[in-house]
Every structure is written in structure tokens, then in C-alpha cells.
């Protein structure tokens, strides 16, 4: 391409123009591109704004769509319910309907409960009881399993509290009755331990109310305690009487003595003790002690004995009745008194009881020692003396004991026989006094160191027996003691000879058809014509 020449002044603007022209020629495409890019940028900016708007619109549309969807779901559910009802009506398939309706109702009920809990509780409460009863009847075990965690815990708490109370009572009673020998003895006699007896005593028992009621009419004669009982007591009397009469008619079957004697309600019981004209109703709490019913029976009998006429003639006028309330109060006081717990001993009282007990034990030990000592010395103090006949030296020289037979002085009783009379006094009996040889060794004392009393024979004098007469028919004994072997019998009026006397016994000798007899009899059966001489009496050894 040829470029035309130019002047200097004029050539510069031309160069610029040329430059511009060249630039425009050279940069035209780029400028077009830039412009296009700018337009694109502007377009992009516009499109960003529209996207945000679109997104908002989309969200709005989605929300509307969700609402419509819920609406459609509810309508669909209603339609399904309607269809189910129609199906049930058409085909009678209740199970199908229920299975379809159940989730619907469950959902509706759940919604309703969330919205108004109190209202729903108020709606359902009347049928809850019946529903629970039905459920228990139908599935008892399931209900037990469901309720056990609640009820079981409550019961456990209650039982534990009751046991703690009983334990406290037992501990208290055991503390009070420790050392109570009578209670322990009583328990043993009953065949139980003292702890068991304490347990029995610890079981609560209380007489709460007494009603004395006319038997046929049910009119209240007296009650105790009287406070807060004025209006209701009369009704109680009537109702108890009606119940008794009903029980008698229903279960007595005409038998006598088959009245209702107890009614139980909750933890309390009414013990009824009948009388001829009135009966006593005792409201008690707990378990009555042994013999309580007997006490009540005795009380009712005593009331009848004391006020029989008034009870029989009572026709409703309170003035004709004696004061019965004090009797009831006294009875209740007596019953409560038997159960009243004794106060624990003070420290001083405990010391006193301890010292008294120890003193008693010491006294007992000393008594035992004294008794044992006395028993041991009894043979010494009361020797079984066997009086012997001291033969005359002239008749039986062999009877003379040797001086070496004299026992030890300390153990030897006082010599006894000292015959002074001469044989000539009663010559007819003389031959009978001759002792046989067999008697000699038995009568010979043996000088031993034992405590056996051995009378010393002093054959220095000749004994002279005395005569007497029996005043009764008696048996004679071999020893001057009761319950010893009999040797024979002697009849009244028999002449006897007294050979020896020991205490209130006499050794006699008499003759009967069998010959000469001997034996011991009581002095009271002998008619003594003369006083017994001393030489015939065996003295009783003095007590040590």
C-alpha cells in the first residue's frame, strides 16, 4: 500500500489521524470484542437478579405445593375413610375397617391430646375404671406385670415401714423385759421363747369403741368413748342388729347360739358378745390378746347380773337405764391397762434389782451349803439307836463285853442301859430274859471310826423288866420305827413286859400260843402301871 507524502506542520495531524486510523483498523476487532463482552457482562448482571427472583418464586411455589399436598393428604385420608366405611357397609368387613380406621383415630386422638390434654382427660376419665377392670379381666397377668412396678414398690414400702414399727416395739419390749424372770418363765411354760412372746405382745391392739346395744330392737344403751358418737352410734346399733339378725336367719338355720360374733372391715374388727337382753360390740384395731374374748364375755355377764331388771324392762326411755357408760369406761381402762407398756427402770432401780438379785443368790447358796452340811451330820445328830438288853452278868457271863470294845469317845453316845433292879422283882419272867447266843454278836458294838452310834453296854447291874398291859390291838415291829417288818401282833389286855424304851417306843415281851414273843410298839398302846424306870430308857442323843 502506497502512502502519500506530507509537509511537517501539516504532516503531524495527518500522522495522528493515520495512527488513529491504523489503530481503528487494527483494534476494531478487539473493540468489538470488548463491547460484546461488556454487553455480556451487563446481560449476566441482569440474569443474576432474575435467578434470585426465580428462586424466591420457586420457594413460594414449593410452600404452596406443600400446603396443597397436606390438603390433599387429609382429603385423601377422608376419602380413604369414606371408602373404608363404604366398603364396610358394602361388604361388612369390620376387621378391615378397624385396621384402616385405627391409624386414623390414633392420629386424631394424638393430635387432640396434644391440643387439649385436660379436656381429653376429662373425657376419658369416666371410662378408665371400667376399661381397667375389663383389661384385668381379659389379661390379668399383663396388667399385673404393668402395675407391679408401681404397686409393688408401694406395698414394699408399706410392709417395710410396718416391720420397722414392729421391730421397734420388740426392741423396746425386750429392753424392758430383760431380766423379767416371770415373763421368761411364762414364755417357757407356753412353749415359746421370750422373744416370740415379745413379738406377740408387740402386735398392735387397741380397743377403739364400745357399743352396748339392746338385743332385739338394736337401740343403743351406752357407748364409750362418747365424743362424736352421739348421732351415729344409734344408727350403728341398728345396723349391727340388722346384720346379726340377717346372719342368724341366713346362716343360723334355726340353731341356737349361732349368732354373728365378729365383723371385719379393713384393719378394724367388731367383736360381738351377746347376752340375754343386750350385746356388746367392741371395735378393735389389731389382734386381740389371748383371753380377750373371755374377758368380754365375763364383762357382759356381769352387766346382766347387775342390771338384769333394767335391761329387760328397757323400752327406750334413757331415764330408766342405770349409768352404763362408767362400766364401759372401766372395762376399756382395764383392757388398756393390761396392754399398757411398763416404764423402763431407772438407773437406781436397776442397781437395786441387781443388788437384791445378788443377795438372793448368795442367800440361796448359803442355804444349800447349810442344808448339805446338815444332811451330812444327820446320822451323827440322830443315830439309829438299837437298844439292847443288858443281860445279867450272873446269868450270861459271856455277854459281858470287853473294855476294848469301847468306841472312840468323840463318837460314842452316852451309855444308856444301867440296870439297877434285881431279878427277884419279877421272878416269873426271869428265864425269858436270857438272851440267846445269836443276839450277842449283833448287839456287840464294833469300835470303828465311823459315825455309827454304838451304845456302850455296862453290864455292871442286872436289869429288871416291868409289867404292863396292852390297851389296843397292835402289830409289833422289829425296830422302833414305823414301816419296819412286823414281828407279830398283840391283842388288847395282854400282859406284857417292857424290856426297853426308846423315845415313844417300847420293846415288849409277851407270851401267846406260839410261845414267847418280842417286838416294838408305841407307848400309847401300853397301860403303864408304874413309871418307866430310867434304866429302861435309851436316851436320845443330843443334836450336834
Amino acid at each position: 500500500m502506497a502512502i502519500p507524502p506530507t509537509s511537517d506542520s501539516a504532516s503531524q495531524p495527518r500522522e495522528e489521524d493515520l495512527l488513529r486510523a491504523a489503530q481503528s483498523i487494527l483494534l476494531a476487532r478487539e473493540r468489538e470484542r470488548i463491547r460484546a463482552l461488556e454487553e455480556e457482562i451487563a446481560a449476566y448482571r441482569e440474569s443474576e437478579i432474575s435467578i434470585e427472583q426465580l428462586q424466591e418464586k420457586i420457594e413460594q411455589l414449593e410452600a404452596q405445593l406443600l400446603k396443597v399436598q397436606h390438603l390433599y393428604e387429609d382429603q385423601l385420608m377422608d376419602l380413604q375413610t369414606s371408602i373404608s366405611i363404604l366398603n364396610y357397609k358394602n361388604f361388612g368387613r369390620s376387621e378391615s375397617l378397624l385396621s384402616r380406621l385405627s391409624p386414623v383415630f390414633s392420629r386424631l386422638i394424638g393430635k387432640r391430646i396434644e391440643e387439649d390434654r385436660d379436656e381429653m382427660a376429662k373425657t376419658f376419665s369416666p371410662i378408665m375404671g371400667e376399661a381397667i377392670r375389663t383389661q384385668i379381666r381379659n389379661s390379668r397377668q399383663d396388667m399385673i406385670d404393668a402395675i407391679y412396678p408401681i404397686i409393688g414398690e408401694s406395698v414394699q414400702k408399706s410392709v417395710a415401714e410396718t416391720l420397722r414399727e414392729i421391730q421397734r416395739n420388740i426392741d423396746m419390749r425386750l429392753r424392758q423385759t430383760t431380766g423379767d424372770v416371770w415373763r421368761q418363765l411364762q414364755a417357757r411354760l407356753r412353749g415359746v421363747s421370750s422373744s416370740e412372746l415379745a413379738l406377740r405382745d408387740a402386735i398392735p391392739f387397741q380397743v377403739e369403741q364400745l357399743f352396748f346395744i339392746q338385743r332385739d330392737s338394736g337401740l343403743l344403751l351406752a357407748t364409750y368413748p362418747t365424743e362424736d358418737a352421739e348421732m351415729s352410734s344409734g344408727m350403728i346399733g341398728g345396723m349391727l342388729t340388722a346384720i346379726r339378725q340377717f346372719a342368724r336367719d341366713s346362716f343360723g338355720r334355726g340353731r341356737t347360739g349361732t349368732d354373728l360374733d365378729e365383723i371385719q372391715y379393713g384393719d378394724d374388727r367388731i367383736i360381738i358378745q351377746g347376752g340375754q337382753y343386750a350385746y356388746l360390740a367392741v371395735v378393735i384395731h389389731g389382734i386381740e390378746p389371748e383371753g380377750f374374748r373371755g374377758t368380754v364375755q365375763t364383762f357382759v355377764s356381769e352387766l346382766h347380773l347387775q342390771h338384769e331388771h333394767a335391761l329387760k324392762a328397757y323400752a327406750g326411755d334413757s331415764e330408766t337405764l342405770p349409768a352404763l357408760t362408767p362400766h364401759l369406761a372401766e372395762f376399756m381402762g382395764a383392757v388398756a391397762g393390761n396392754r399398757r407398756q411398763s416404764k423402763p427402770l431407772t438407773r437406781l432401780q436397776r442397781w437395786f434389782v441387781f443388788i437384791f438379785g445378788m443377795g438372793g443368790l448368795l442367800f440361796l447358796a448359803l442355804s444349800c451349803f447349810y442344808l448339805q452340811f446338815t444332811i451330812a451330820l444327820l446320822p451323827v445328830a440322830f443315830p439309829t439307836a438299837t437298844p439292847t438288853i443288858t443281860p445279867s452278868p450272873t446269868n450270861t457271863p459271856t455277854m459281858t463285853p470287853s473294855p476294848t470294845f469301847t468306841p472312840v469317845p468323840t463318837n460314842t453316845p452316852t451309855p444308856t442301859l444301867t440296870p439297877t433292879q434285881t431279878p427277884t422283882n419279877t421272878p416269873t419272867f426271869t428265864p425269858t430274859f436270857t438272851p440267846t447266843p445269836t443276839q450277842t454278836p449283833t448287839n456287840t458294838p464294833t469300835p470303828t471310826n465311823t459315825f455309827t452310834p454304838t451304845p456302850t453296854l455296862t453290864p455292871s447291874l442286872t436289869p429288871t423288866p416291868i409289867s404292863a398291859q396292852m390297851i389296843g390291838d397292835v402289830f409289833t415291829l422289829s425296830e422302833p420305827q414305823l414301816f419296819t417288818p412286823r414281828t407279830g401282833e398283840v391283842v388288847r389286855g395282854t400282859a406284857v413286859t417292857i424290856l426297853a424304851v426308846y423315845q415313844n417306843w417300847a420293846k415288849i415281851q409277851w407270851t401267846d400260843r406260839n410261845g414267847l414273843q418280842e417286838g416294838w410298839v408305841l407307848l400309847q398302846w401300853i397301860d403303864l402301871r408304874i413309871p418307866i424306870p430310867d434304866y429302861l430308857i435309851t436316851p436320845t442323843p443330843a443334836r450336834p
Binding site: 337401740l219 348421732m231 344409734g234 340377717f246
Partner: protein, 180 residues
């Protein structure tokens, strides 16, 4: 206060006389309604079937004492035969009721009177024709009533447990006769 205390002491010092009385009559003649009207001063429209015995108490203030009525409302009809006469024991008097709208209840008055007499010969009896307010349904005329009551020779009243007509009067007359 002192005056109130004096009145209280006066009441306390007044003696109390107790009387057991029975209400007898056939089934649904209105015995229980009569007692409700008398004792509780109101009338319950719903009928309460009497089972066995229903007991009420009413205290009357008499000139010099209180009179306590222990009212035994006994079941009527066939059930009365089952419970027997034991419930009548010790009763001083009785109100024997028939239903003026049911003629079959009229002859039973004599039966209940006989039962009461068997237990207590001196018992005071008052015969009552109840439901007198139901004039349009009345089925027993005055003449029939007199014929039935005359042999029994006792007081007779026509009452209405619904309106209260003669109810208090019946018990008042019973009290008067008991304390003659």
C-alpha cells in the same frame, strides 16, 4: 353466749327416748320415698329399690324430752317372707303403707299388721295410703279404704311422698300414740 349455753345445757339435760319403728308395705308402695321425705326433707323422684333393710334416724323435740325414731324400712313383697319377722323384733310401732294407684296392695295391709302383732301385741300401727297426689291414676276409693281399715281399727292417713302431704303428720301421730 350465756343464753346459748343455757339452751345447750337444757338440751343436754333433756332425756332421750328411743323408739324403733318399722315401715311395712308391699313392693314399690313408696316406703323409702316417705322416709326420704320425712327424714331428709326432700323427695327423690328416682325410685330406690329397697333391699333388705334401710335404716334412718329422726329426732323429734317433744315438750320435755327428745324422741329418737330409729326407722327400719323393710323390704316389701315376697322378699319380706325371706327375711322373716326378726327385723320386727323390738319395734314399738309401724307405719303400714299401701299404694292408692295399685289396688292389689290394699289387702296386704292386714297381712303386715298380723306380722307386727305376732311380734309385739301392743305395737302402735298407722295405716297409710300413699301417692294421693296421683289423683287421675287412683284406683282405690275412700269406701274401699274404710272397708279395709275398719276391721284393723287403727289410724289411717292418705299421704304423698312427692308433695309431702301428711307425711310429717303420720310420724307425729305415731309419736303421739307411742307416748300416750
Amino acid at each position: 353466749m350465756q343464753r346459748g349455753g343455757t339452751v345447750k345445757e337444757k338440751f343436754r339435760s333433756m332425756k332421750i327416748v328411743q323408739k324403733k319403728i318399722c315401715l311395712l308395705g308391699d313392693f314399690a308402695v313408696g316406703k323409702t320415698s316417705l322416709i326420704r321425705r320425712y327424714v331428709e326433707e326432700r323427695f327423690d323422684e328416682s325410685y330406690l329399690s329397697t333391699i333388705g333393710v334401710h335404716m334412718s334416724r329422726k329426732r323429734l323435740e317433744r315438750p320435755n324430752h327428745f324422741l329418737d325414731f330409729f326407722i327400719w324400712d323393710l323390704v316389701g313383697g315376697e322378699d319380706f317372707h325371706k327375711i322373716g319377722r326378726n327385723y320386727l323384733l323390738g319395734a314399738a310401732g309401724a307405719l303400714i303403707v299401701c299404694d292408692l294407684t295399685r289396688p292389689e296392695t290394699l289387702p296386704k295391709l292386714a297381712y303386715y299388721a298380723e306380722q307386727m302383732r305376732a311380734v309385739n301385741e301392743t305395737a302402735v300401727l298407722i295405716f297409710i295410703g300413699n301417692k294421693v297426689d296421683l289423683a287421675t291414676e287412683r284406683a282405690i276409693s275412700d269406701d274401699e279404704l274404710h272397708q279395709a281399715i275398719t276391721p284393723l281399727a287403727h289410724t289411717f292417713l292418705q299421704t304423698s311422698a312427692k308433695t309431702g302431704e301428711n307425711v310429717n303428720n303420720a310420724f307425729y301421730q305415731l309419736a303421739e300414740l307411742l307416748e300416750m
